[in-house]
Subunit: 152 residues, 6 copies
């Protein structure tokens, strides 16, 4: 059976940390779908179209990787696209606790879906989209944390 | 002296995790008051009346357990109702740190009131009202995390 | 029903941190037994007799508090003395995780026994028997961390 | 390319927690080798032969799962058996930090090997081999934490 | 070379915890600038002028200590005032992780600036501006957590 | 007044992580003494002479940095050499809690001595002497984690 995995997030914007997780995880799966979750209450810095375009361009050479967007429960989107796995990268201990709480609840709701974790490589553990947005908002230069194709 | 305890929270809604903590703690006290703290800045998903009704119905067979609501400082409410104890359940490490900060400050303000902690049982550690509300908001089925009487 | 509680530990030696937890918890229970767990593999700094004597002297004015020693599983000793509760003080986050693991396992083995946690007061959070022993071993003065009756 | 994974540990003894991680992870890989690391300085409770026999019996119906033992660096054993992945289960935050330190160092030494993490299911998060051995050593009954085939 | 340090924060209001960190750190530096970061999205309880006045009054006897305010990236303000160091106090583990993430990112953006950490003394670890504001907002008495000159 | 700092540890062996902390901290102080604590109960992998020689060679070009060894309480050694500061690097959250406990106790015993913390740079956070010794003991190549002058 084909192993399909969803990598959910807001990717606002995609960082070198995300790229590192994706590149290290992609061989585990036959298809890896990068899923941009959207919900009306949270205002993104970059438009959904812009975020999808960046991701599509970065990974266009690898046809195992796709980008999509969804609303609603992440596990419902997994079931819709046939993903038996979810991928999450963990940078910090506090990330870990939050991720585990979500994973536990998702497992209770959808026991057929497993969440697989990779830890951020030391070099990329610094990078979070939230901090990157802070840098951008305050006029700083965030280029070193972002893929070359992410030009804002 | 009668041992009176306040179990403060927003109970939006009460979950099986809360029920588990209450059932395991109730024998420690002569009276256990479930106190719904309300403050104007935070919008609840369920009305105060609805939340109180659910709690009252769930525990109506046990006359040691009551439900109340309050505004202002939790320690002021403790003093008003004569509670020498506060009860808190801890699920996660990050819960613990926040709870300890609150407990330390409360102890500085009101040295006569002790905060007593129970850890969530493994089976219920998954359940938080916040995640339950996310499931409900996204059209998911949260029944397995809620007491039967909580029908929304 | 009488509420009986075991406060297990090695108390090698009893510190002001322990005394603080005991004094804040004692009103919750009708009887509080301070239980010194002994096991052959771990070498104590102070003899069992010495440790029991210190504790007995410190609390001799309060007939709700007793001292005892035991071998084997802590829950077996609880059942033997009729304790429905165990008391544990938590200083640090890493304490908390370890304590919760023990509490979870104890609850699985003996569902009739609840572990109740208090957090160390800020002023006493510094004090651990392990660090106190290090100070003593290196010729330092640990008096400020110990009850007056603990003279070594 | 065949996906081969090593699940390293001491399995002294294998618990229901280990079994749960293995069953949830096995579909991710084409082959999953349970590797018992041995080193002379640490004394096991159960003999290596006993531990291997238990594991072999538990998973004998699934020919994707094998058991092996090794000495020396875990990444050297991975390379010897052609494993591109290592699997680790995480129960607690403190586990996570230690596991990440090991994974970081392994990644620095062998960038071709990825460590994949699953979190313990809530129901099994209680169970650690260390605590299980404590129960056994103190004459307690650890059956509820162990696979039926682990009879000691 | 003169050692100049920025102690950034919102100081809304300055607490005894802040004062303790400043007093213990000041000898490390030749000049210590207390920098109130302001950004339009976050509404303070006390006006910038009020906060600056309190700080200036508290430290008016020590001419190594100054107060300033800034907008934008903290590292840009460091460079503007010639600070090679940033000072941060850590109360809790969760503080630590967040502080480290910020420090890592700042180090990547400005390798010439080091962030130096002090841990809160046990007695002051309780005190956070956030909790102090909660007490004030709910009509409680927060005097014991505040310098005498902070009268609201 | 001259600012003198002790950087205590076992440095068994000194790693690139230690070197990174030292280089980033040295400008804060007028003199930085690297102090190798020795105690009879812990068996080192490398001899005290070897460890001192490596450190002396690595920093011989910087006359602000010295190496020494000591027995007994670290604060007693600080007082002996006139150090008002201790330096510690923090890699992980669990490091932080342990370091804070030690720092709290040291501050209680010697209020004139402050412990200053730096966080490991992301690139060096991987490296601990303990893990390095594991690699060496198992015949692995630990060169990438060690200064060039550390040849074993």
């Amino acid at each position: 059976m084909e192993r399909i995995c969803l990598f959910p997030g807001s990717f606002d914007p995609i960082t070198l940390g995300h790229v590192n997780i994706i590149e290290r995880a992609v061989n585990l799966f036959d298809k890896l779908i990068i899923g941009i979750g959207t919900n009306s209450s949270k205002q993104a810095m970059f438009s959904l179209e812009q975020r999808k375009e960046w991701i599509a361009n970065i990974f266009k050479a690898d046809n195992r990787i796709e980008v999509a967007d969804y609303q609603g429960l992440t596990i419902d989107f997994c079931n819709k696209i046939g993903a038996q796995y979810m991928l999450r990268g963990i940078r910090y201990v506090s990330d870990f606790e939050y991720e585990r709480a979500i994973a536990d609840m998702n497992h209770a709701l959808a026991p057929n879906i497993e969440t697989v974790f990779l830890t951020s490589s030391a070099f990329h553990a610094t990078i979070s989209s939230t901090l990157v947005r802070d840098v951008i908002r305050n006029g700083g230069n965030a280029k070193q944390f972002l893929p070359e194709l992410v030009i804002y």
